[in-house]
């Protein structure tokens, strides 16, 4: 049984996580309410500067609350559902975490009022399996008198949700989340509309499982490095018994496809020696990708670990596939197997840290190539600022390229 922590739904929490968005922050509005209450209670009424502004803000806020009653209801119900998948013992902490997950997953703080409402409604309906209670709990009349009724209705809705929408088995949640991910990747590969964020993704995120954390479910803004990192996470085989931490093998293959590399010619090699479930997953994904495979060769970007200039680079466009990774992922004990890429690399962009001389970087790359840790291909050294240093013969240096195309032009 979960401890009775302070699981509180309040306007500050709703504002913090973007469920309601007022032009006046709740803290300011609270101060305005206090001033207006003082004015009302004063025997000798004393005007103050912000009197009219306070009045307008309170009226606007009340209007906002009227407009967002349903939004709040959806958020509250979804959050309560998510708390069922929480791992902490504190009810208040779990509820706050659930609100955070909703906000981050649906990117509520970056959305307008209508879109927020629409996203939460979709999740709410998903929760009730299409049998969600009707909206418009406040048809009209004095606002204060209706609030009690609305609160009662909200409590009833939450109770109803708990009764009708039973807690799912976590394996099914995980399975549903990965299935949604495959749909999402396929949609991206095929330039189809984005697959919306699903409840299972949020439930997994609530549990901090791979399906909920490997990437944000809203993928449109993701950049080269974020996709590349997802690939790396996908191919890193971690020795663990935690099923929630495992990433299916089809996932990095899908990510590689999104980065422009078509690995389907290697499917037989990839699936050899893996469990049947993994193999079927790969085959299923391969079947859903465009019929014609691409043999396009791309770039391998070897970036610095922190503060890389590639952090702002967009996801590569089709004609020039690319994947980025820190140098360390090619060397050392934790290195991953890049063998499927070597034949697909046309050139290598190596980012050089400000503290390293170009000649030393060239020497480091050459050494890794000689050990077979990096492919043997043309290399360009990238720096954040231009440098006047002697370069080894045949080595090209490019300073502060704005994007991938500029770096390999």
């Amino acid at each position: 049984m979960i401890s009775a922590g302070p699981a509180i739904l309040d306007l500050a929490v709703l504002e913090t996580w973007g469920v309601i968005r007022s032009t006046t922050p709740w803290s300011e509005l609270n101060a305005a309410r206090g001033r207006l209450a003082d004015l009302r209670d004063q025997k000798e009424k004393r005007a103050y500067d912000a009197m009219e502004r306070d009045r307008d803000q309170v009226l606007q806020y009340a209007s906002l609350l009227r407009r967002t009653l349903d939004t709040i209801r959806y958020a509250a119900c979804v959050a309560v559902d998510l708390t069922r998948y929480a791992t902490a013992d504190n009810a208040g902490e779990n509820f706050g975490d659930a609100m955070r997950v909703i906000s981050e997953s649906l990117n509520l703080r970056g959305r307008d009022e209508d879109t927020t409402r629409g996203e939460l409604l979709r999740c709410y309906r998903e929760l009730f399996g299409g049998r969600a209670p009707a909206d418009s709990m406040l048809p009209g009349g004095p606002f204060p008198g209706q609030v009690d009724a609305w609160i009662a209705a909200l409590n009833a809705t939450i109770a109803q949700m708990k009764q009708e929408s039973e807690q799912k088995d976590i394996a099914l949640v995980r399975q549903g989340a990965w299935a949604a991910w495959q749909d999402r990747l396929v949609a991206l590969i095929n330039d189809a509309p984005e697959v919306p964020v699903d409840l299972d993704y949020m439930r997994c995120r609530m549990r901090r499982e791979a399906a909920g954390t490997i990437l944000p479910a809203i993928t449109a803004p993701l950049r080269l490095n974020e996709w590349s990192d997802a690939y790396l996470k996908g191919v890193q085989r971690v020795a663990t018994v935690d099923a929630g931490a495992a990433v299916p093998l089809w996932f990095p293959m899908g990510v590689a496809a999104i980065l422009g590399f078509d690995l389907r010619p290697d499917v037989s090699t990839i699936t050899s020696g893996v469990v049947e479930v993994e193999a079927k997953g790969i085959e299923r994904l391969a079947a859903r990708m465009p019929a014609q495979s691409s043999a396009q060769r791309g770039l391998l970007v070897v970036r610095v670990t922190t503060g890389s200039l590639t952090d702002t680079w967009e996801r590569p466009a089709r004609p020039l596939p690319a994947i980025s990774a820190p140098f360390e992922t090619f060397t050392g004990e934790a290195r991953i197997n890049w063998r499927h890429f070597w034949s697909r690399v046309e050139g290598m962009l190596v980012e050089v840290d400000a503290t390293e001389r170009l000649a030393d970087a060239a020497k480091r790359i050459a050494h890794a190539q000689s050990l077979g840790r990096l492919p043997t291909c043309p290399v360009r050294l990238m720096t954040r600022v231009a440098r006047q240093e002697p370069l080894p013969t045949g080595m090209v240096h490019v300073a502060a390229p704005a994007d991938l195309a500029a770096a390999w032009r």
């Binding site: 049984m1 979960i2 009775a4 699981a7 509180i8 739904l9 309040d10 306007l11 509005l29 309410r33 207006l36 209450a37 004015l39 009302r40 004063q42 000798e44 009424k45 004393r46 005007a47 009197m51 009219e52 009045r55 309170v58 009226l59 806020y61 009340a62 209007s63 609350l65 509250a76 959050a79 309560v80 559902d81 708390t83 069922r84 929480a86 009810a91 779990n94 509820f95 209670p133 009707a134 709990m137 048809p139 606002f143 204060p144 209706q146 609030v147 009690d148 009724a149 609305w150 609160i151 009662a152 209705a153 909200l154 409590n155 009833a156 809705t157 939450i158 109770a159 109803q160 708990k162």
Partner: protein
């Protein structure tokens, strides 16, 4: 409230309503009462005494004071006090009122340059002097007839007195004047001081005739050629007729020609028609007589010699004749006091007045007593000129610089004198009413901004139709409108009570005036309904300039001092607790005298004024104790939509906290039990 104004007995204590007090009625004769006795009055009276005693030949006084401060009243009061003190000086101070704008605003004269100005001013001075002199002497002549002559002659003599008044309008010559004096037997002792000197009568006639000559020169184009021989014969005949008894005189006058302009003057003086007709005739007749008629010695001389005298009666000769006239007046015991009023209505006064006074100083300062009444701007400009240069002519043109200023305590002393407690039930009530009256004094002085004229108005504002004061008991100490005035006035007086300010005010009248204007500047803004006002040094000076119509001239150090004092005063108003502490300290140190019950009546809430970051202050309440933005306040307090919104948000906040957001099944069941029960009752709420 049993506060009674006892000075005017017409407003006695009615006793019906103990909360009302009578208010003094203004005098019916149109004069202003002297509300308080400023130091300047003593200075002016002192100079007038010296002048009357002929310790000085003349004085040139600049009397400066704000509009409504009672400059004219003070000068008239000083004159009345000194003139009425003693008859032993054989000197009569006569007031000659000169309208400043008429004296200095003569475009034609100014176009002619300095000579033109001088001529115009001299003419105006002499015309007014003659007219005033005529009034005074005619009045005393009539008094003489009433008090000195036996009843048998009195009736005819009084007619003679009327006749004299009308004749004087025609500016008669000496012989005509003499005939009047002789007719009532005032020739040896005169009419002004009949018991004093034997030659007073002749001195009066000489003075009057000299002034009359000047008057004729000033008011018309007039030349005269006199042949003594011819005139002597004519005069002999006429003098016999003049010496006739009153009844014969009446016949004589009736037979004379009725063609002179004196009739019009008499009509103007409001006399009955028969007297008006008489006036025209007598003027024509008596102007033919001469002063030398009864002198056998002169008559013999004129018989032997043919003398042709052509006196220079041109206006230009007034420069020389004016001192002579003034000397002859003094010889006759007549000391004119010229009061030049309304000067603050003249644009560019400083240049005009200093020019005129410096040119005519030989008269204005050396031969007569002149009072020039101006607003403080003139004094300010004079101080500025003196500061800039030590050798400016303006430095010496005025023998006395008198600044009419009242201290708040002077006006309160007056109020304390006219407000008294009547019929209190017991000592406790007496004390309470005394405190009310004291507080009311501060309130009224603040409303009046230390101007007597405004004080009268402030009192009048509190007066009802029955003449009682509309101030309830405790109201001066308990109602916001009164308390705010009390608070501001106390703050002003705390600021003024600082030792260094007291010393500075005593020795620098100009600064004192500026400081007064500056300290009451926020008050003016308050009364003008301005909520927010600029209290930077520049803002204060600009506002004073705008309200007074002249640019404030102060050194940079004084500007800063002014600014500091004003903001200190306002800060005290903003922080009433500090104000109370400062008042208490000032009382303890003897810098102020105010009862504890009065300063404790200062309210600490609500704040009257609020300081903003940009050196501006904002009045939160108007002078009636009503909050500014009261309409907005009502709009907020009575706004049903806003009340709904506030209550709705309150209910929302409270309600949300009760929502069961825990996934614990037990807590859910527990939470929804009352909810489900409530839902049964909420059939209208659709879920």
């Amino acid at each position: 409230m049993a506060v009674q104004f006892f000075r005017h007995s017409a407003y006695g204590f009615e006793g019906r309503d103990p909360h009302y007090a009578p208010v003094p009625k203004l005098p019916d004769d149109g004069t202003r009462p002297l509300l308080a006795r400023p130091l300047m009055l003593e200075s002016l009276a002192y100079e007038l005494r010296r002048y009357r005693a002929m310790q000085v030949n003349g004085r040139n006084c600049l009397v400066a004071g704000p509009r409504g401060s009672g400059k004219t009243t003070i000068v008239l009061t000083a004159h009345e006090e000194v003139d009425g003190e003693s008859k032993a000086h054989r000197c009569r101070l006569i007031r000659v009122r000169l309208h400043g704008p008429s004296l200095l605003k003569d475009p034609a004269g100014f176009e002619r340059g300095e000579d033109g100005i001088q001529e115009h001013v001299l003419k105006t001075v002499l015309i007014n002097l003659y007219q005033t002199l005529c009034e005074e002497l005619a009045f005393e002549y009539r008094n003489y007839c009433k008090t000195r002559l036996d009843p048998a002659r009195r009736e005819d003599a009084l007619e003679m007195a009327a006749e004299l008044r009308l004749t004087l309008d025609g500016a008669p010559d000496a012989s005509a004047i003499r005939s009047f004096w002789e007719a009532i037997g005032a020739m040896p002792g005169g009419v002004l001081f009949p018991d004093c000197q034997a030659d007073q009568g002749a001195a009066e006639i000489v003075a009057l005739a000299t002034a009359s000559d000047a008057y004729r020169s000033c008011t018309g184009s007039y030349t005269r050629a006199t042949t003594d021989e011819d005139s002597a014969a004519t005069a002999t005949e006429l003098a016999g007729k003049v010496e006739a008894k009153g009844s014969e005189l009446r016949d004589l006058i009736t037979s004379a020609a009725l063609t002179t302009g004196a009739a019009a003057s008499a009509q103007y003086a409001g006399l009955p028609a028969p007297i008006v007709a008489l006036a025209g005739a007598s003027t024509a007749l008596l102007s033919l007589s001469t002063l030398s008629y009864t002198s056998s010695r002169k008559r013999a001389k004129s018989a032997n010699e043919k003398v042709t005298f052509l006196p220079d009666l041109s206006v230009s000769s007034l420069v020389h004749r004016a001192p002579l006239i003034l000397r002859r007046l003094r010889q006759a015991g007549i000391a004119p006091v010229f009061i030049v009023d309304e000067l603050d209505k003249i644009p560019n006064l400083y240049d005009r007045l200093t020019s005129v006074v410096s040119h005519l100083k030989f008269i204005t300062a050396d031969q007569a007593f002149f009072c020039f009444l101006t607003d403080p701007a003139f004094l300010s400009q004079l101080a500025e000129a003196n500061r800039e240069r030590a050798d400016v002519v303006q430095r010496t043109i005025f023998t006395n610089l008198l600044f009419l200023t009242y201290t708040p305590s002077q006006l309160r002393e007056y109020l304390a004198e006219v407000i008294q407690i009547q019929d209190p039930r017991d000592d406790k009530e007496r004390r309470e009413l005394e405190m009310d009256a004291e507080a009311l004094g501060y309130v009224l002085v603040n409303r009046a901004r230390v101007l007597p004229f405004e004080l009268v108005r402030a009192v009048a504002e509190l007066r009802d139709d029955m003449g009682w004061l509309r101030v309830g008991a405790r109201v001066p100490r308990q109602e916001l409108a009164y308390q705010f005035h009390l608070m501001i006035q106390l703050a002003i007086e705390v600021v003024l009570s600082a030792r260094f300010i007291v010393e500075r005010i005593e020795r620098d009248l100009n600064f004192a005036h500026m400081l007064g204007d500056a300290l009451y500047y926020p008050n003016s803004q308050w009364y003008a309904g301005e909520q927010r006002f600029d209290c930077s040094a520049k803002g204060i000076l600009s506002a004073i300039a705008a309200s007074t119509g002249y640019e404030v001239r102060l050194s940079e150090r004084d500007r800063d001092l002014l600014h500091e004092r004003v903001t200190t005063m306002l800060d005290l108003v903003e922080s009433p607790a500090n104000l109370k502490r400062e008042v208490k300290l000032a009382v303890a140190e003897g810098r102020m005298q105010v009862s504890q019950e009065v300063w404790e009546a200062v309210p600490e809430q609500p704040a009257l004024v609020v300081k903003h970051d940009d050196d501006t202050y904002e009045w939160m309440y108007n002078r009636y104790g009503v909050p500014h933005k009261s309409a907005s306040i009502l709009d907020i307090v009575d706004n049903l939509e806003l009340q709904n919104a506030l209550e709705g948000i309150d209910a929302f906040v409270t309600g949300l906290a009760t929502v069961s957001v825990s996934s614990d099944p037990d807590s859910v069941v527990q939470a929804i039990a009352p909810v489900l029960e409530a839902l049964d009752k909420l059939a209208s709420v659709q879920i």
